[in-house]
Symmetry: C2
Subunit: 293 residues, 2 copies
């Protein structure tokens, strides 16, 4: 059986701990979070079995370490992990960007001869909720969802197999992908939409009659901006960690908006309808895919 | 009792007809749609009681006319209505833009001495669904939703009262508003989000690996782009009918994206977090408002 150290006790890490325990893939969970209140709540809810006083304390007797911190914290946290974790352990993560995490892990772990970069398995469970925090942890969060693993050439096959088996055991569909492709895909379908939703709510809220406008919002606006309630720190880190791919998607999108503004001002009905119709067709095809899941 | 003529047999018009009948505010519904299949389906579902062969045929014996057509069709349809409708009737609409509809109604009706512009009541029920068409008509669609009436100085008080009573009877909360303010508010919280969602899906779908990217979309993307499955023709019309207010919102939003791209490229974590945090705060406050509804 496996002793898990959970570093970062939030919605994703907490849900993973609950799910791994229920699937009997881990026997005990030591948790650490920079916010002691999160650890206390996790302990009270049975998400972790022990609240560790430090990263080193959490990982010292671990067979498996799950990093569930904002991706910008990876380097600092992994340095603490590497200094104390047993050499036989496996370290994995849940970060929404993979190239930045792999680069950080490679730099940190190659500087610590006691732990091999080959035993670090980069991963990304595609699940979440607009309500952050361990209070909303849910052992079923990953059921039927995708888990993307992005091993590199150095990644040890046994470590990779162990991590993928863990996510399969909690109901996730495991798919391997190149880290750079992962980052390009999620820049388009996750990171850019988050940035756009944040931007829209911030923009309207800053208008003189912003509160009045927001007061009239209906279901469409509610759905469109649900992701704008997400953690600002987590998404700041994701945006910066994936700035090349996200920047390229944002540039393309701004070009699209430039063309739509021109069409609007020119009263070009055909140009507007063309863009809207191509989008509606693609979105409806996608919905049929969702419905058929 | 009231004989209703429904011009435009889709989700909104069909739902209104069902709701008005169930509330016993109308005794019969004659429907006309440019698409005969929509009329046939509405007849089969009991949404309308008679499929009229023309606009004139539908309105000839009506006490109340409900226009539920894309706003760009208002002038042409209203000219046909005005040529045949009894002088005692009331005409109202459900268009998502109000200044353009009022201007069209004023121009058309003042050219037809047989029907007074004073008996036209501009309105907008704030309800919808991503599944268009009379097949999804629902008598409960307006329950607990907002109905905005935007009367002008000329609007006859009795006609206004009759229309507002109708919407109240089907569970809507009626609120009066100046037409220009209506258009500014809905430019920000409805028309711009639709344009942005259409733009995002069109942009990704046009990329070489667009289909692959869309295949990985999760719940966040699904919510964010749900409105991109809406009717392209309807939204083309709304965008053009409200181009001044929508154009101003879009310009402001593009300025926001310019600043976010700069912050991303400069690695300016504080600037990104500031925008994201202001958005998350406003969106969470709004959610508490929804939850407390």
């Amino acid at each position: 059986m496996t002793r898990l150290a959970l570093i970062g006790v939030g919605l994703i890490g907490g849900s993973a701990a609950l799910a791994f325990k229920r699937a009997e893939k881990v026997e005990s969970v030591a948790g650490f979070d920079a916010d002691p209140a999160a650890c206390a709540e996790a302990l009270a809810r049975g998400v972790i079995d022990r609240a560790a006083g430090s990263v080193a304390d959490a990982v010292r007797a671990a067979d498996l370490v799950l990093l569930a911190v904002p991706v910008g914290a990876t380097t600092a946290v992994l340095a603490e992990v590497a200094a104390a974790v047993p050499a036989h352990a496996v370290i994995t993560d849940v970060g929404s960007t993979k190239r930045s995490v792999i680069d950080a892990a490679q730099a940190v772990l190659n500087a610590h001869s006691s732990f091999s970069f080959r035993r670090f398995v980069p991963g990304h469970p595609i699940a979440g909720g607009e309500r952050p925090g361990v209070a909303h942890a849910d052992a079923d969060l990953f059921r039927g969802k995708l888990f993307v693993s992005t091993p590199v050439a150095e990644t040890h096959a046994d470590a990779l197999a162990k991590v993928e088996a863990l996510w399969r055991a909690v109901g996730a569909n495991v798919q391997r992908m190149d880290a750079d492709e992962h980052d390009r895909i999620f820049a388009a379908i996750s990171h850019l939409p988050h940035l756009l939703a944040f931007a829209l709510v911030a923009q309207i809220a800053a208008e003189p009659d912003g509160s009045r406008k927001l007061g009239f919002a209906g279901a469409g606006f509610r759905d469109f901006t649900r992701i704008a309630a997400s953690s600002p720190v987590m998404w700041r880190d994701i945006a910066l960690a994936n700035r090349d791919a996200l920047g390229a998607e944002l540039r393309g999108y701004r070009g699209m908006l430039d063309r739509l503004q021109q069409a609007l001002e020119a009263g070009d009905a055909a140009a507007l309808e063309d863009v809207f119709a191509r989008a509606a067709q693609a979105r409806r095809a996608q919905q049929r895919g969702f419905d058929g899941e």
